[in-house]
């Protein structure tokens, strides 16, 4: 009997995934446990294994297609079996068929079934049905009309559909749409009402005409995760008042503490504790005493959190990912070390649950291992602060050399003033400089 394979739902907040690769094609034999396809959300990637033996009978989505969660993506079964009932978008038997609906106009239901905007808004000739008002609103706001769900008559996108896209935050201009804006030229329109016409665009601007050297390049489509990062980073910088405080701490104590741990690791079965883990520990303790920096800034109000959910910036092959170490202030140093290792590994493997990629109240990022001595980390909104950990350098105090590690704290001046932010940083430094002592007390 044919068995459909659905797109798994990876976490509560995930509604659809993109199929990145098919490992089987129609007609291939499939054994239980073999890879069927790989897929990704905007934050992580996953593999789907076969849960039954059989033949791949049908594949409903191409590589690169987005499939709603819980929708059938392929069917495994015996050769010759009918798979048509599993095709997504076909109503279950008993419901009226689309043809029947079309014929009797009077029965047209007002609420359209959930459709993918991309296909629903485009008519057969490839034109997108969109009202001038909606198009104007999209141009003005930069809303991506491909995300709009048309609710107008005849599948037309109306202004209200674009407003929904804006609320959803799908506000990214896409260059292909807009040769005009991308050109960077300001052309005054000669069309009626000052509309810019194709003539205006084709008109040669003054001073043009010299051939520019053509740079060779490779065009690479942005991955989903790159788009997300781009959007959130840009939003962060453009929509908040960020500034960075730099400090450093004397790492003598923690280096000594770590040395002792290493020496006793085997005998005491201690986990490998990194400098980063120690800093996470220090930060988690300081955060709960400086609540305005362990917070979300919401524009008209602040959310002050009771526990420190620290995002750990994590460099992966796919780009920056930030898994969350929940309630770090309640965790022991050993627990922090173990959990952060698990999180970063999952990120690197692409198997992290999307639910673990949200919920942070503060972020720690570490470029110190790459030799960076000072930087301006970018806040992950609506968080109000991020702490950058820098490379260890040698400094002198009273003519005496000591190992120093730089700390770069970026905070949102809308949420917190300079002095309290500096006090938070000062406390982190204090904890780290007398770490073994503090560890004993806290």
């Amino acid at each position: 009997m044919a068995t459909p394979v659905i797109m798994p739902k990876q976490g509560q907040s995930v509604e659809s995934c993109i199929i990145t690769k098919w490992h089987k094609k129609v007609g291939d034999d499939v054994k239980e446990g073999e890879l069927l396809f790989s897929y990704e959300t905007d934050k992580a990637s996953f593999d789907e294994e076969a849960k039954a033996d059989g033949k791949m009978l049908a594949i409903f989505f191409e590589e690169g297609d987005e499939a709603d969660c819980l929708v059938n993506v392929c069917v495994i079964g015996n050769e010759g079996e009918d798979v048509s009932e599993f095709a997504p978008g076909i109503a279950a038997p008993g419901q009226s068929s689309p043809e029947a609906t079309k014929e009797s106009v009077s029965a047209t239901p007002a609420t359209q079934p959930e459709q993918k905007a991309e296909s629903a808004a485009a008519s057969n000739d490839g034109f997108v049905k969109i009202s001038p008002r909606a198009r104007g609103l999209a141009e003005k706001s930069g809303a991506d009309i491909r995300y709009a769900e048309p609710t107008g008559a005849n599948g037309r996108i109306m202004a209200r559909d674009i407003e929904k896209v804006i609320v959803q935050g799908k506000v990214a201009t896409y260059a292909s749409k807009d040769a005009y804006y991308a050109s960077g030229n300001v052309v005054s329109g000669t069309g009626i009402g000052g509309r810019v016409t194709t003539y205006d665009l084709s008109a040669v601007p003054a001073g043009a005409g010299q051939q520019k050297p053509v740079a060779e390049f490779e065009e690479v489509a942005l991955s989903n995760i790159r788009k997300i990062i781009a959007k959130s980073m840009h939003a962060s910088l453009s929509q908040s008042a960020q500034l960075t405080l730099n400090a450093s701490f004397d790492a003598t104590d923690i280096l000594a503490f770590r040395k002792k741990l290493k020496e006793n690791a085997e005998t005491l079965a201690l986990p490998n504790i990194t400098i980063n883990d120690i800093i996470l520990y220090a930060v988690s303790r300081a955060l709960v005493r400086h609540r305005e920096i362990n917070a979300h800034y919401m524009g008209d109000r602040m959310l002050l959190f009771g526990s420190a959910n620290i995002g750990i910036a994590c460099d992966t092959d796919r780009g920056l990912m930030v898994p969350t170490l929940f309630a770090a202030d309640k965790l022991s140093l050993a627990e922090i070390a173990a959990q952060s290792k698990k999180l970063t590994t999952a990120c690197k493997e692409g198997s992290i649950s999307p639910d673990l990629l949200t919920g942070g109240t503060f972020t720690v990022t570490n470029l110190g291992t790459l030799g960076v001595e000072s930087f301006t980390p970018v806040i992950n909104p609506p968080q109000t602060g991020i702490l950058g950990v820098c490379a260890m350098t040698e400094r002198t105090k009273n003519g005496k050399a000591y190992p120093a590690i730089g700390l770069s704290l970026t905070f949102d001046h809308r949420a917190i003033d300079g002095a309290p932010a500096a006090r938070f940083l000062q406390e982190v430094v204090k904890i780290l400089e007398s770490f073994s002592f503090m560890l004993a007390l806290r």
Partner: protein, 821 residues
């Protein structure tokens, strides 16, 4: 249907015969000698001079048209030239006795009449008065062009007349009508020369209206309708004859106004309508004068006269003017003439023989008349040679001026783009056009309807929001009545007529009560002659009065097509702003009466430049717009709807004001404010739109802004565009059949003007492109509230839970158009 006149079966069933008296045919036979008592030697010669000027004028045009040259002067005149070569004696004879206050109306072939009437007027008018006329016309522009070393004012005036006419024919801005009338329409009212008309017979109803003006306003002078023999094939000419002769003029009209209309229906009978021979081929009257016998017991004092002899024509005019002065008009004259050239220069003459032309050439009117005068010893041949030479010099000098672009430029519409635009409407507001005390029978406050209206409730709802009963509420028809009776007590020139206006009070009771206030000469029943009703109003208004005429059903516009579309609409602008056209034409859109009594033809009216057009549907708007229409100087086609004559005022909470107020023509009105969708309506469909708006609000939470167009032409889009910019969506609705209806025009303009704001295409909901079926089926024909919802659901945005009954899909739209239904 006056009760004073009983239709007694004993009388009307009596045996008997209709008796006719003999109609004179060419009875004039006086010699020059016998006429000496009536004419001085100068008079005899002046008659020749006038004919010679016309002959040379027409000859010049013939040469210009056919050879491109006259007397060594090359010119190309692409415009028309319908010449009256051979007919000169009739024009000069007719004009000889006429005064400045006597009006002539002509046809496409009236150059001769213009010149003859002008020359006659110049001869009779004192010099200072003549000079003042020339100086005041167009700020003295023509006078400045022609004034030089003339011997006297009269000679200057002749130059002025010939130049003004020729410059007009050559479409020069310095012509009598700034070149906007041209050859077939030229006129000059200061000399009593009224519009000539390019529509065959078009002048008959208009001239009759001018005669009505003279009678009603007791003005001096008579009116002549100069049309051709072939125009008796045109219905409106017969209508004019009938209406000019209606019994009531002698039997019912009051002392002082009693008697026939002061008009001569003169037919210049040249035996051809273009090439169609009226005598022997296309008509049946044999001798045109016979027609008079069928019109009234006086046989219209009809007579055939010899238009080839100026003295015969003058003799007849003398006798006919006496008849009119004794209040015995109208008169019919069959003036035979012969056109020596073609209908127009493109006429190959295929319909008549060389022999016929030669026979008439032998009887040439100038040669014949000059021979008679030589024979009678009034002058020798040299005198006539001199007059011919004078005519040639006059025409040569005038054409040189008229074709000189520096002296006689054409309108330059790129330099003054508003030149024509500015004269399409006169746009004046004049409380009264008549200067006399208005003639009324009782004080207005004693009028029974006026008294009755004081007890009416002027807002449709009581203080609890409940509808006031039909019997108590002030209705739309009351709003119209109040505006109209008010104007009757202010403007002595105002007249109202149409079918069943008096006694009955109009088919829809708008005029109920007017009979009690107004004498016959201001308010009367017209014959069922729609062309004559509208055409006469045109003549009445261009003579200086104000008229409100009614066609009962909008559908009857078809019967007055030429009068509405070519006459009422055109004369203000074709006169370059000289004439005003204060006519309100009431038409009512029917209900319950089927295919020929239910049509909304606003789009047809809107398509004709020069007509204003309104369609109020509330008592407040009806009164305000009627006041504005009656105060204006432009023709207003005033649409009404029989569905809602009894409707109360639902929007103006203070109630319809008792006093005078105007609503400017051209301003739409927001009847209900809203934010999500705009519904723009024309006419009574407003109330269906409000029903739809209620459902949208109640069932779908959609707030509709409902706008009543109120005016069709002119129309200010500002409010509508502002609304559509706000809502992004618009439905347009009216009772007119949808194809080509005015809502389509509105939708097209809205699309262009608010394109970037539109969230859906403007959607039109009109009546089906069918005949109007029986009343019981009207809900399937006229737009209903649920049609508007269906259209929104299917063309703009689906309405949750709405089940469409109608089909407004694109597929259906294409199908209907494909089959023309």
């Amino acid at each position: 249907m006056p009760k004073s006149q009983m239709i007694d079966p004993k009388d009307v069933r009596k045996k008997g015969y209709v008796k006719f008296t003999d109609i004179p045919v060419n009875q004039y036979s006086k010699s020059i000698k016998q006429e000496e008592a009536n004419f001085s030697a100068d008079d005899f010669l002046r008659i020749y001079r006038d004919m010679a000027i016309i002959r040379e004028f027409e000859n010049m045009l013939l040469l210009i048209k056919t050879t491109g040259e006259y007397n060594g002067i090359a010119y190309n005149n692409p415009g028309p030239a319908h010449l009256s070569l051979g007919q000169e004696a009739s024009a000069v004879g007719q004009a000889y006795l006429l005064q400045k206050d006597d009006y002539i109306f002509g046809s496409h072939r009236s150059h001769g009449e213009i010149i003859a009437k002008g020359l006659s007027c110049i001869h009779k008018t004192p010099d200072d008065e003549l000079y003042a006329i020339m100086k005041n016309f167009m700020g003295g522009r023509i006078l400045k062009i022609v004034e030089g070393n003339q011997k006297n004012i009269k000679e200057t005036a002749i130059d002025f007349l010939i130049y003004g006419a020729l410059a007009e024919i050559f479409a020069r801005e310095t012509g009598f009508n700034k070149g906007l009338g041209g050859s077939m329409h030229a006129f000059f009212t200061d000399f009593g020369i009224y519009p000539n008309n390019a529509i065959v017979g078009g002048s008959a109803t208009i001239a009759m209206g001018a005669a009505l003006y003279k009678k009603v306003n007791q003005k001096s002078g008579i009116v002549i309708s100069n049309v051709g023999d072939a125009s008796l094939g045109c219905g409106p000419v017969w209508e004019a004859l009938g209406m000019a002769s209606m019994d009531q003029l002698t039997k019912l009209w009051e002392e002082g106004y009693n008697g026939g209309l002061p008009i001569i229906f003169n037919f210049f009978n040249n035996f051809y309508g273009m090439g169609g021979q009226t005598y022997g081929e296309t008509m049946a009257y044999n001798i045109l004068a016979r027609v008079g016998a069928g019109v009234n017991p006086d046989q219209m004092h009809a007579e055939r006269i010899d238009g080839n002899n100026p003295l015969a024509v003058i003799d007849a005019m003398r006798r006919k003017l006496d008849i009119i002065k004794s209040n015995k008009g109208p008169v019919l004259l069959d003036t035979i003439v012969y056109r020596m050239t073609g209908h127009s220069p493109s006429d190959s003459g295929s319909y008549r023989t060389k022999e016929e032309l030669a026979a008439w050439a032998e009887q040439d009117v100038l040669i014949g008349y000059s021979k008679d005068l030589i024979k009678a010893g009034k002058a020798d041949a040299g005198v006539f040679e001199q007059m011919n030479e004078y005519a040639k010099e006059l025409i040569t000098k005038t054409i040189k001026l008229a074709i000189d672009d520096s002296v006689s430029p054409r309108m330059n519409l790129s330099v003054t783009p508003g030149a024509i635009e500015d004269i399409m409407f006169s746009n004046q507001n004049v409380e009264k056009l008549g200067t006399d005390e208005p003639s009324v029978l009782i004080p207005m406050e004693e009028n029974p309807r006026v008294k009755q209206l004081t007890g009416k409730i002027r807002y449709a709802f009581d203080e609890n929001g409940k509808p006031v009963s039909k019997n108590k509420v002030y209705q739309l028809r009351d709003g119209l009545f109040e505006a109209i009776i008010d104007k009757f007590y202010k403007d002595s020139s105002l007249v109202a007529y149409g079918e069943d206006n008096r006694d009955w009070g109009g088919a829809f009771a708008v005029y109920r009560g007017l009979t009690e206030s107004l004498p016959y000469h201001r308010f009367f029943n017209a014959p069922i002659s729609e062309a004559a009703i509208v055409g006469s109003a045109v003549g009445y208004a261009m003579s200086g009065g104000r008229a409100i005429v009614e066609l009962m059903y909008c559908d009857f516009i078809g019967r007055a097509g030429d009068e509405v579309f070519n006459q009422l609409a055109k004369w203000q602008s074709m006169s370059a702003g000289v004439l005003k056209m204060p006519v309100v034409l009431r038409v009512s859109i029917g209900s319950k009466y089927g295919a020929q009594h239910s049509q909304d033809w606003t789009s047809m009216i809107a398509n004709i430049p020069g007509l204003k057009c309104v369609f109020p549907v509330t008592p407040y708007d009806a009164k305000g717009l009627m006041n504005a229409a009656l105060a204006g100087t432009d023709p207003v086609v005033f649409f009404e709807s029989q569905r809602i004559y009894d409707i109360g005022e639902q929007f103006c909470k203070a109630g319809v004001p008792e006093g005078y107020y105007e609503i400017p023509i051209g301003e739409p009105d927001i009847k209900r404010q809203g934010s999500d969708i705009t519904i723009l309506t024309i006419g009574a469909t407003l109330y269906k739109a409000l029903e739809a708006a209620d459902i949208l609000k109640g069932k779908h939470g959609i707030s509709a802004e409902v706008i009543d167009a109120r005016s069709i032409v002119p129309f200010n889009y500002d409010k509508v565009i502002e609304s559509v910019k706000k809502t992004g969506k618009v439905v347009l609705a009216s009772d007119a059949c949808e194809r080509g209806s005015h809502i389509k025009e509105l939708a097209s303009n809205i699309t262009e003007l608010a394109f970037d704001y539109l969230d859906a295409p403007p959607v039109c909901v009109g009546a089906r492109n069918w005949i109007t079926p029986a009343y019981e089926l009207e809900a399937d024909f006229f737009p209903q509230a649920d049609w508007i919802l269906d259209a929104i659901h299917q063309k703009i945005m689906p309405l949750a839970g709405h089940v469409a009954a109608g089909n407004f899909t694109e597929v259906e739209q294409i199908r209907r158009n494909k089959y023309g239904v």
